[in-house]
Every structure is written in structure tokens, then in C-alpha cells.
Subunit: 99 residues, 4 copies
């Protein structure tokens, strides 16, 4: 993830895209990518969604990548570590939803 | 991230939630969480979104966590590694958008 | 719908909310409301979603309302008539997807 | 709107698409369309979003149409009248946010 963050930062800096990357815009882009991911599943049954064909899976992989890239980017702009945030949240979830 | 994945798997298994976690449902939950994240920014100016107050930032941190947890969960159900997917996608992006 | 538009305009004007209602912000709010609507269905099976309880249906009704209100608001800000747009789009869809 | 609903129903029936149109799936499709609409605004400033070029506006018009079509479809499947729902919701909003 650390290496991914460095690549994401370098990518946006080399292209001068920082000016577009306000947290507001990145949050909007994150939803749009999440929706592109969901689009692959919208007309499938749940069972079909568990067995998607290999060529479709490659497209889904790219959408998952886009969501993660924007999430890493957004967290970085806010000074947050997304993996640490997830660890902290799971602790909360364990308390909220006991086994 | 590997440790996060193990925690996410254990969490859902201990609660018997696997049956709800079809890729279709997880993709839908991922959008919903992304929207909850975006909700914090919707009425802010871009400038305001760069300087959100500390207490608001803690809520945003939890939403970022939720998005990552569902993304890790979804990728696992599809047999995909989200970080590897992101690395592969950046290679594609570099070709698509030359400096 | 014309009456609805007049109410929506009056509501935002009386509260001085026009300054927040840029098309960008309204489009973001529209997604957020759509996600709140989808949240009611995310863990249901398709069959369950066809038979939701009455008290849940009342909440869904309010979410549908919120989506329509933002859509009417956004279309108005852009000088568009959403119902006319839908009629025009169905003509295109009929051509695109022949019976 | 009544005429729009009749066209939407006829369109899906003539194509045998009712079996895909569970409320769950339609709610998912509604978000996806809302995201396609938002995509047109994600990198614009709020000011730019108030002055989008004519050719872009035609694309936005089609996305607004898609959102309304799915909303009308979903409401119909749930036995709800979206315009009446919006009128009822505005009454609630007026109470919740006094002038």
C-alpha cells in the first residue's frame, strides 16, 4: 500500500492534476468508480455474481483498482491512513456487532 | 492489508454473514458507503473540503474505513488482490495519459 | 410536476439555499439520496425486495421523494424539463433496443 | 408523468424485462444512472457546472432522463406515486427546516 500511495502521488503530480484533486472532487470520483463497479453486477442474480466469466472479471478487477486508487488518493489528501482507519473501524464493529 | 483481509474474513465468518456477502450485495454496499463518505463533502466548497474540522475528519475516517473494508471483502470473494489490481491499473493509466 | 417544481423553487428560495445549489452539488446530493434509497434493498434478496413490509415502504417512499426533489431541482437549474427529457430518451431507447 | 409511466411499463413489458426489474435491481440501476449524471460534473468547479456547454448539456439531459425513468419504474413496482411522495415529503421538510 505504501508503494501504491507513492505511485498515486507521483502520477497526479507529474500530470499537474493536484488542482483538480480536492477532497470534494475525489469523493465524487470515488462514488462514480464504485458505481461503474456495481454496474457489472446490477442485472445479475446473486448466484451469477458469484460466478462471473473470466473476461468480465478482468473488467471488474480494473474497476476495483480505480476505487482503491481514488480511496488512497482521497485519504492522502486528508492526511489519513486508510488501512489503519480500517483496522480501527473493525475494532468498533466488533463492539457494535458482538458474535 | 493481508492482516486486514484476515480480520475482515474472520469478522464475517464469526457472524455467519457470508450468506449475505454475494459480490452483487457487496458491490451495492460499497456504493452506499462511498455515498456516506461523499455526503460529508456535498455542500462544502472545494476549498472547505481541503480544511475540514478535526471532529468531522474522524467521521470521514470511519467512512473511508468502511469503503476499504467492503472493497477488501468484495475483492476476496472474487479471488482478486485489490492492491495488485491497483498497481496493474496504474501501469495502464500511465500509458493512457502520458506526461 | 409543474406544481412540484414551484414548491421546490419556493422552498429553496425562502431558505436562501440557492447559493449551495450549484448543479455540481445537486448532482452529488442526488447520488447520496439514491444511495440512501438503495440502502433499504442491499441485503435483501430480489424476492424480498418485491415484498417489503409497510413500515419499511414508508421510509422507501421518503427516499424516492428525495431523489425526485433533487432531480427536479437539478433539472431546473440547468433549464431542462425532466419529463420531456424522459419522453425523448424513451424514443431513443426504443430505437436502440428493438422488440 | 402518467403518460411517462405508461410508456415505461409498455417498454419493459414488450421486451420481457420485468423479470430483471426487481426493486433491488432497479434501486441499483438508479444509483448507477445517478453516478453517470454526476460524472459530468465531477472535475468542474461549481461555477463551471452552472455554465456547461450545449453539447454537454444534451448528454446531461439524457442522464437526467435515465434517472427519472428508473425512478418511475421503481416506484411503480413498489405501488408508489413518486410525485405524490415528493409533495408529502416537502410538507415534512417545511416542518423540519422552518424559514
Amino acid at each position: 500500500m505504501e508503494e501504491l500511495l507513492q505511485k498515486v502521488k507521483l502520477f497526479r503530480e507529474e500530470r499537474g492534476w493536484d488542482k483538480f484533486h480536492s477532497p470534494k472532487n475525489l469523493a465524487m470520483a470515488l462514488i462514480v468508480e464504485s458505481a461503474e463497479l456495481a454496474e457489472h453486477f446490477q442485472w445479475l442474480t446473486e448466484e451469477e455474481s458469484r460466478n462471473i466469466p473470466e473476461d468480465e472479471l478482468l473488467k471488474v478487477k480494473d474497476e476495483i483498482a480505480d476505487v482503491l486508487i481514488y480511496l488512497v488518493n482521497l485519504a492522502d489528501k486528508l492526511g489519513l491512513d486508510p488501512v489503519q482507519a480500517a483496522h480501527d473501524k473493525i475494532v468498533k464493529n466488533i463492539e457494535k456487532y458482538p458474535v
